[in-house]
C-alpha cells in the first residue's frame, strides 16, 4: 500500500454535527491531516432582516439564533436597544430576566450534555438530560406561554409577570436538581470508555484560544478565568455569589467538567434570585408597545453578555429613524467553530465527533 491522503466528507447531514455542519477532512490512514469546516447551510441573514423593521421587531430573529437558549439571545439584543434609547427598566423585571436566562443556560447545557452523550455512543444520559430539561421547559411554559421560542423580553421589561405557581415549580425543580445532576455526571465520569475517549482529545492551548477569539466554557476549560458576568457585570450579577469554574487541561473532558459545574452555579444563582425578586412593576409603564415601535435612536451601543456558548452581543447603530441602520450580531459559536482546523489536526478520525460536539455549536447562531 502506498502512502495516500484520502479526502472524506463529514456531514452536512450527519447525526453528530448538531445541525448542518460539513467538514472536509483529509486523512492519512486514521490520522486527520487537515479539516476545513463548511458552514452556511442555515443562513437567513438575521442582520439584514432586523434592519428592515422597528427596533422591537428584531426580537423574533434573535430568538431564532441560538434556539436552545433563546432567552440569552433576547437579553443581548434587548439590553443593547435599552442602552441606545436610554429606556429605564424596573428592578423586578431585571431580576426576572436574570432568573430566566440562568434557567435557560441550564436547559442549553443539558441539551448539549445529552447530545454529547449520543455522540459518544451513550444513549442513557440523553433521556436523563431531556427529562430534566423538560421540567425547565414546563416552567418557561407557565411563565412565558411557549416552550422554545419565547419572545418574552420586551424593551423596558418583560411581557408577563411570574406567577406563584411558577415559583413553586422552580422550588420543586431546584430541590431535586443537584441529585439528578450528580447522577448524570456519574454516568459519564464512571464510564471508562467515555473518559478514555475524551481525555487528551481536542486540546486547545490558551494561546490558540486567544488567537481564535474563543469565549465561554471552551475558554474556561483552557485555563482562562474569563466570564462576562464577573468581568463586566450586567443585570445584578455583582450582587450574587457564584464561582467561575475553570480547568487547565483544555481537552474535551475539561469542557465537560466546566459545563457541569456551570450548571451547578446557575442553579445556585436561580435559587438566590428567587428569594430576592422585589415587588413592583414588571415593565416600564411609560412605554406602551405601539409607542416603542416609533421610538427613534441615534448613536451606537454594544452590550456584551455571557450566553451559554460564550460572549454574545449586538452592535446597534442608529441613524435617527425608528429603524436600526446596522445590526451586527457577535455570535460566540461562529468564533468557537473556526478553531476546528487546529483542534482536529493530528488526532484520529474517531476523535472527531467528540471534539466537534464539545464546541457545542448551534447552527442557528453560527450561520445567522
Amino acid at each position: 500500500m502506498e502512502d495516500k491522503i484520502v479526502e472524506v466528507n463529514f456531514g452536512p447531514q450527519h447525526p453528530s454535527t448538531h445541525g448542518v455542519l460539513r467538514i472536509k477532512v483529509k486523512l492519512d490512514g486514521e490520522i486527520i491531516v487537515d479539516a476545513q469546516p463548511v458552514i452556511g447551510y442555515l443562513h437567513r441573514n438575521a442582520e439584514k432582516l432586523s434592519e428592515m423593521g422597528g427596533y422591537p421587531k428584531g426580537m423574533i430573529y434573535m430568538d431564532r439564533l441560538d434556539y436552545v437558549a433563546a432567552l440569552n439571545m433576547e437579553l443581548g439584543y434587548v439590553m443593547s436597544v435599552e442602552q441606545l434609547m436610554d429606556v429605564q427598566v424596573p428592578e423586578r423585571a431585571l431580576w426576572i430576566r436574570m432568573m430566566m436566562v440562568e434557567l435557560n443556560r441550564i436547559a442549553s447545557h443539558l441539551i448539549w450534555l445529552g447530545t454529547h452523550g449520543l455522540d459518544m455512543g451513550m444513549l442513557t444520559p440523553f433521556f436523563y438530560c431531556f427529562s430534566e430539561r423538560e421540567k425547565i421547559l414546563r416552567i418557561f411554559d407557565e411563565i412565558t406561554g411557549s416552550r422554545l421560542l419565547y419572545n418574552y423580553f420586551a424593551v423596558g421589561g418583560v411581557y408577563s409577570d411570574i406567577t406563584p405557581k411558577s415559583v413553586e415549580m422552580i422550588k420543586e425543580w431546584y430541590g431535586n436538581f443537584y441529585k439528578r445532576l450528580e447522577e448524570i455526571q456519574s454516568i459519564f465520569a464512571k464510564s471508562y470508555i467515555y473518559v478514555q475517549r475524551t481525555k487528551n482529545v481536542g486540546k486547545l492551548s490558551a494561546e490558540d484560544v486567544l488567537s481564535y477569539g474563543i469565549t465561554g466554557p471552551m475558554q474556561r476549560a483552557s485555563g482562562m478565568k474569563r466570564d462576562v458576568r464577573k468581568d463586566n457585570p450586567y443585570l445584578f450579577y455583582d450582587k450574587i455569589n457564584f464561582d467561575v469554574p475553570t480547568r487547565g487541561e483544555g481537552d474535551v473532558y475539561a469542557r465537560f467538567l466546566v459545563r457541569i459545574e456551570e450548571m451547578r452555579q446557575s442553579a445556585s444563582i436561580v435559587n438566590q434570585v428567587v428569594g430576592k425578586i422585589p415587588q413592583g412593576d414588571f415593565y416600564n409603564k411609560k412605554y406602551s408597545k405601539p409607542m416603542l415601535v416609533r421610538l427613534k435612536a441615534t448613536g451606537e451601543s454594544y452590550v456584551p453578555t455571557e450566553s451559554p456558548k460564550g460572549e454574545f452581543g449586538v452592535h446597534l447603530i442608529g441613524d435617527g429613524s425608528s429603524i436600526p441602520y446596522r445590526v451586527r450580531i457577535r455570535s460566540p459559536s461562529f468564533a468557537n467553530l473556526s478553531s476546528i482546523p487546529t483542534m482536529l489536526k493530528g488526532y484520529k478520525i474517531a476523535d472527531l465527533t467528540a471534539s466537534v460536539s464539545s464546541i457545542d455549536p448551534v447552527f442557528g447562531e453560527v450561520d445567522r
Binding site: I39, G40, H43, N45, E47, K48, M52, Q83, L84, D86, D208, L210, S211, Y212, G213, I214, T215, M224, R226, D231, N232, G299, E300, S301, Y302, V303, P304, E311, G313, H315, I317, Y325, R326, R328, R330, F334, A335, S338, S339, T342, D367, R368
Partner: protein
C-alpha cells in the same frame, strides 16, 4: 504612537477610535502589544458613499474594550497575521459586505454559496430579486436567477 483621527464612544461607554486606512495594521499591532489580545469580531457598515470596517478588541487582563474603525472604499489590509480568528470574520465581511481584505489566505464566500451575485448587507442590494442554488454532483454549485431544479 500611531495617530488617531477622532474619538467617540458608544452609549454604554466603550471607546471608539477612527484610524486612517494606511495605519490600520500598524495600529492594531501596537494595540495587540499593549494588551488587547482578543479580537471579538470584524464587521463593516455600508454608509452608501463609503464603507467602514469595525474591529472589536478586548483585553483579557484589564477587561478594557476598544472599537477601532476605519473608512475605506473597498479594500483594507488583512489582520490574519495577528489573530487566526480574523480569517473567518474577514471572509464573512467579504461575503456580506464586499470588503476586500488584502493578503488574506483564502478570501472566499463563507455563508453564501460561491457565485452569489451581490453582497446582501449593502444598502443597495435588491431584496426583491431571488437567487436559486442549483446543486451539482461535483460539489461546484451554480447560482442563477432561474429556478430550474434549484432551491
Amino acid at each position: 504612537m500611531i495617530p488617531v483621527e477622532s474619538e467617540s464612544s458608544t452609549k454604554n461607554g466603550i471607546k471608539i477610535v477612527y484610524v486612517a486606512k494606511e495605519n490600520l495594521l500598524a495600529f492594531l499591532t501596537e494595540k495587540k502589544e499593549q494588551g488587547f489580545d482578543t479580537l471579538l469580531m470584524i464587521t463593516g457598515v455600508d454608509y452608501r458613499d463609503h464603507l467602514e470596517v469595525l474591529y472589536h478588541l478586548l483585553s483579557s487582563k484589564t477587561n478594557e474594550r476598544l472599537i477601532v474603525k476605519t473608512k475605506t472604499n473597498e479594500e483594507v489590509e488583512s489582520v490574519t497575521s495577528l489573530w487566526k480568528g480574523a480569517n473567518w470574520h474577514e471572509r464573512e465581511a467579504w461575503d456580506l459586505l464586499g470588503i476586500k481584505f488584502l493578503n488574506h489566505p483564502n478570501l472566499t464566500r463563507i455563508l453564501l454559496p460561491e457565485g452569489w451575485v451581490g453582497h446582501p448587507l449593502r444598502k443597495d442590494y435588491p431584496m426583491d430579486k431571488k437567487q436559486y442554488v442549483n446543486l451539482a454532483d461535483d460539489g461546484k454549485d451554480r447560482v442563477s436567477f432561474e429556478k430550474s431544479e434549484g432551491y
